[in-house]
Every structure is written in structure tokens, then in C-alpha cells.
Symmetry: C2
DNA sequence: GTCGGGTTACTCGGATAGTGCTTGTCCGAGTTAATCGGG
DNA sequence: CCCGATTAACTCGGACAAGCACTATCCGAGTAACCCGAC
């Protein structure tokens, strides 16, 4: 059981995009540079976020990404599902139906009790992730940060942020 | 995010072992045959359960596996951790410390807020899994089963169960 | 000076190789049951 | 008939390949800004 590294990158990137002014954008290469990761690889995950309608894309020079919704309306779950896919971690292969002397299929109309418990736990997991929004993350950071981390981010944004022209 | 197929096999196998009489054993090859999976591969996971002290092994002819603890004392979490390993799914790579103009390490004494939220969700997930024991699984099955599934299992056990001799 | 067209450079998007882990398999060490021989 | 040593077969345990998903990368399509020339 392992989450891809792309999840972490995607969440940090979304948090960074939340710091932009209304309408401004930030390029994927800038996000990659700030986080010290491969630009090509981060781009891949940004595309996933784009497909999930979590970010808007602005093509051309001075283009980049920008949040499509308010930071309040974007949860950790949204990001995780966008990057990792919506499939649950546990897949029931119905091995109870295999083996010798199999029973008729009608005995297995009800879902497997084991799968039910596993998926129930996963629903709880997702519900917990859904409780946290990007805004919550920013607030948590502010409470522990004495200003240095925020200052570094702002300095970076001063250079790379593409402000909305019109 | 994907759980290995071995988890499902391990849980079903543990449930089967719970149906044995006190002290009786069941070989890995029998478990594999009943579930229609590769014997060698299931054996691998049974070894993991053995390393985690969830099952006892009896070597030699008429040997096999048997639960080490009462079905009440074995939870889904125990099995999942034994097979998948204890590491959390989310690994924080501390990408907040990377990139240009890094800050001194002392600013990052506190764990990353994002990682904290992700791990918190995972704790909830594990807590939910810990709530369900093997016994609970058996009870859930009894409630939905009209007897056919249990009968098939018993018929198989009549052939393959190795009863305690002494 | 202003407007328009063309060029250019930068962006994202999807298709393409490399790598690590899960999956799947095999053979060997160890142990017990059964067997066979002797008493 | 009973007991014991030997044999043999069956078990698990760990070491060994194959497949797939994640990781990492590249090049192409598209677009907006910029520049240059004409008016």
C-alpha cells in the first residue's frame, strides 16, 4: 500500500496556487523549481488536476495554472482522487467464488463481507481527507510559521507570478 | 494507491483457519486450492502472517497453519499490516525544504502540515480496520448466508482438515 | 503615432522509455508420520 | 505382538525470475505576447 509521490507534489502545488492573486497564474516549471522536483513529472500531475477540473490552464507565453475553484471548495480528497484515480485501494477479486465445486452465482448477489469492511474503512479514510480544505492547510501553516516560510514563498511569487493583465 | 491482491487472499485464509477445530491445521496448498489461487504465492503471504505471529506453523506431514490467537483478538488491521507492511501509504519527502534559497533546517522542526493531515486520515483508516475482528466477519457471513456457503466450506474442511492427534 | 500582420517564444498536452515493486515461481532445510526389521 | 531405527514424503522457509505500475522524459500542437512594417 503506497501512494505515489505525485500526490505530495500535487498538494504542495495546489497550496502554492492558492497564494496567488485572483486570476494570476503560475507555470508548471516554476512550481517544479520551487519544490525541487522534475518539471516534466510534475507537469504530468498538473494535467491530472486539470482533467479533474481542479485547475484552469492558460496557454501561451505568461500562461500557467490557476485554481478553478475557491480554496475552500478544494479538499485533500479531491486532489488525491485526481492524481491517484478514483478506484478504491482494495479490489475484491471474488476469490470466494473460485476454487473447486463452485456454487451458483446467485449465492453471491450480496457483496463479499470482507470487501464491504475494507471499503467501509476506505470511505472513512476519504471522508477524513474531505474534511481538510486548502484553506485549512494554509491556516495550519500560519499558526506554526513565524513568517520565514511565508516570506520565502512570497519572494518566489514576486518573481514568477503572472498577474492577470486585463 | 493500490493494495496488493495478497491482502484479500490472506484475509479469506484467516477466516477459513478460524473455522477449524481447536488445534487443527490446514496446509497452504489446501487454502490455495479452495480459493483458486497460486499455492506458491499464497504461501508467501502465509509466511508474512507467520512472521507477524498471527498464525502458528506445524511442519512435516499433516502439518499446516493454525491461528495463533483467538479470532476475537485478530483484526483486519493486523492482517493488512502483516501483509502490506507497517509503513504508512503517504510518505513525506519534505519537498518544502527543497528548491532554491532553502531555509535553515530549524524552521522545519515541526512536521509538515500536509503530511500531518494525510497521516491523520490514515490513522482513522487503520482505526476503522482495527474495529473488525475475524469473529465479526464470520457473524456477518452467517447473517446473509442461507447455509450453502458454510456447507461448502465444511465439506472442504472434512477432506483437508488435519485434526490434532494427541 | 496607430493599427495590423507576421513571427516568435512560451505554454500545456499526450505519447514514449527506464526503474522499482508487486506478482509469481522454484528448490532446499527441517520435521513428522509411516514403514520395516528385530526382539 | 511390541518396540525402535530408518526411510520417505510432506510441510514451510527463503532465494530467484517475470510483469506491471510508477517514475521520468521528450517532442509536438496551440496560443498569446511581441515586434516590425505600413499607413
Amino acid at each position: 500500500m503506497k501512494l505515489g509521490d505525485g500526490v505530495e507534489q500535487a498538494i504542495h502545488s495546489m497550496a502554492m496556487l492558492a497564494c496567488l492573486e485572483e486570476g494570476s497564474t503560475l507555470s508548471a516549471s516554476a512550481l517544479a523549481e520551487y519544490h525541487g522536483v522534475s518539471p516534466s513529472y510534475l507537469l504530468k500531475h498538473m494535467q491530472a488536476l486539470s482533467s479533474a477540473d481542479l485547475v484552469d490552464t492558460v496557454p501561451g507565453p505568461k500562461g500557467g495554472y490557476r485554481l478553478k475553484r475557491k480554496p475552500d471548495d478544494i479538499s485533500l480528497l479531491d486532489i488525491v482522487l485526481a492524481v491517484e484515480g478514483p478506484q478504491p485501494a482494495f479490489r475484491c477479486n471474488e476469490i470466494r467464488q473460485r476454487g473447486p465445486n463452485p456454487l451458483p452465482a446467485r449465492y453471491f448477489d450480496k457483496p463479499c463481507g470482507i470487501a464491504a469492511k475494507m471499503l467501509a474503512a476506505e470511505r472513512v479514510y476519504r471522508a477524513e481527507l474531505a474534511k481538510t480544505s486548502i484553506t485549512d492547510l494554509m491556516q495550519d501553516l500560519q499558526e506554526t510559521d513565524d513568517g520565514a516560510i511565508a516570506a520565502r514563498g512570497c519572494a518566489f511569487l514576486d518573481i514568477h507570478e503572472r498577474k492577470q493583465v486585463r
